[in-house]
Amino acid sequence: MRRKRKLTLWVLSIFIIIGAVALYLFLTKQPAPLTETAVAREALSRAKNSKADIYAKESFAKAECLYDSAMNCWKRENRKQFYKRRDYTKVKTFATLSAQESQLAVAAALKKVNNFQVELKSKLEAARNMFNKYNSIFGDVPIPDKIRNENNRGQLLLNEAELAYKNEQFVACTQKAQEAEALLGRSYQYLKIHLQQYFNSYSTWKRQAEETINQSRARRSNAIVVDKFARKCYLYQAGNLKHQFTVELGPNWIGDKNHKGDKRTPEGQYKVTAIKSSNRTKFYKALLLNYPNAEDQARFNANRKNLPRYVGIGNLIEIHGDGGKQGDWTDGCVALVNSDIDILFRYASINMPVTIVGSLRPLSEILN
């Protein structure tokens, strides 16, 4: 009996000692970082929803890295057998930092998205306006294939950038808008330089047109002024505008006519030298002009050495019918639709002044 009690006491003491040691070793020093990691994870999820992984890449990556560090730290601590030795301070720190970084990433992403929306919207609108503004001019001006190709690619990229904007893919949109802007800008720059060179003669055109109109007023006679850029033919009677018609020209209409076959409509002051009715022209009706005049001849002679020997100055420049084909198609003549040439014929006479100019409006006005 005494031995049994002794044994019980002995067993109890072992239990108490083991229990005490176990309690000391396995008792958690501090609570697990449940809240901190959950908060960090939720913040990270919010950041992802705000597309911070795209628009605040660095910050988001940092937040993600800090969360992963918190989790790895937590695992490492949990691998320690003795709870007393587990320390979650680092886990909590990493998780807290991750949550903070996620918040920063959200703010940065929202700001960037907002900026993108405002900036890209105006950028795309500007590019589209530029496209619309220049495209009507672009279609009418003879342009080398390479430039036209660039313009086409620019237009395709602009379409693509607008789709990317609609789908809220702002990074792709920015890249495509930039490429479109560069291509369109380059082709329009070419157009601008090309036109600026052409418009160097604007003051001459203006003077010649004014002279013709003043002469019509002074002599109370009829006169014709052709504005190549506007594709218009104006009929003046005693200095007053009586009619205006749409015209079609030679396809290389930019610049003065230099020689036969250059498909340019000449510029200068001319006179009607023959009135051809239907049986004398294949273009319904025609007014033959005195091209080449003395000025044209002098210019041709000056350039003669640059031209092949068989190339002549050209002739038979007319204002004729059969127009309305759309686009510029003549060999250098001015084409009107038949109903318009009928009207013009009523006012036409031999020696009637015809002034053909590049433009009656300055380039600055056209481009704005």
Partner: protein, 201 residues
């Protein structure tokens, strides 16, 4: 003496069992969920089903936190974590399937838009034959031919070697080309109509 010693060992063993907990970590479930997520990503779920995929990843993270929560305790119970892992696995598998379907839809849409653009460009080329021609009309026709050629080149380039990750980009390219081909058609139709109207005049 020997009896006492054995008794002591037995007690120590019981005590250790009590203190070290009972359940094992759900390694298989973790592995399964991770494989499901990785294979969903491999088919492009992060691109084509981004939101849903992020949801699955988030569920996986919750599960891992639940596991560590249990690992921090004396008595471990992984039932909640296991349930989360099952959800993550199911989600990832479903997303994978949906991604495959979405990609097939996108591919079909690309093919349809490509065919549509090709047909439009063909129509443009046919309209070119009816386009106004004069002595110099060939130049205008050449210009429009350049437009058609650029657009054709564009869709052919977009349609070649389409990467698995680029269906959305390619689709946008096709749509942009469709817009351009349509504008060429409008331009040509208007020109033809104007000529017809002028002839009637």
């Amino acid at each position: 003496m020997k009896k006492r010693f054995l008794g002591g060992i037995a007690i120590l063993g019981i005590a250790l069992l009590v203190f070290t907990g009972c359940e094992k970590m759900p390694e298989a479930e973790i592995q399964q969920a991770q494989v499901a997520i990785d294979s969903a990503k491999a088919v492009g779920a992060d691109i084509y089903m981004a939101e849903a995929f992020a949801g699955a990843q988030d569920t996986m993270k919750v599960a891992m936190e639940k596991i560590e929560e249990q690992n921090s305790k004396w008595f471990k119970k992984y039932s909640v974590a296991k349930a989360k892992l099952v959800v993550a696995t199911t989600m990832a598998n479903e997303i994978k399937e949906k991604t495959i379907v979405r990609k097939a839809e996108l591919k079909a849409e690309i093919e349809a838009t490509y065919a549509e653009v090709k047909a439009l460009l063909e129509e443009d080329t046919q309209l070119l034959a009816k386009a106004p021609r004069g002595k110099g009309g060939a130049a205008i026709i050449e210009e429009i031919k350049t437009d058609i050629a650029t657009t054709t080149e564009w869709i052919e380039a977009a349609n070649t070697d389409i990467k698995d990750t680029e269906y959305l980009v390619v689709l946008d390219k096709m749509k942009a080309a469709k817009e351009k081909a349509t504008s060429i058609k409008t331009e040509l139709t208007e020109a033809i109509d104007k000529v017809a109207a002028a002839k009637r005049k």
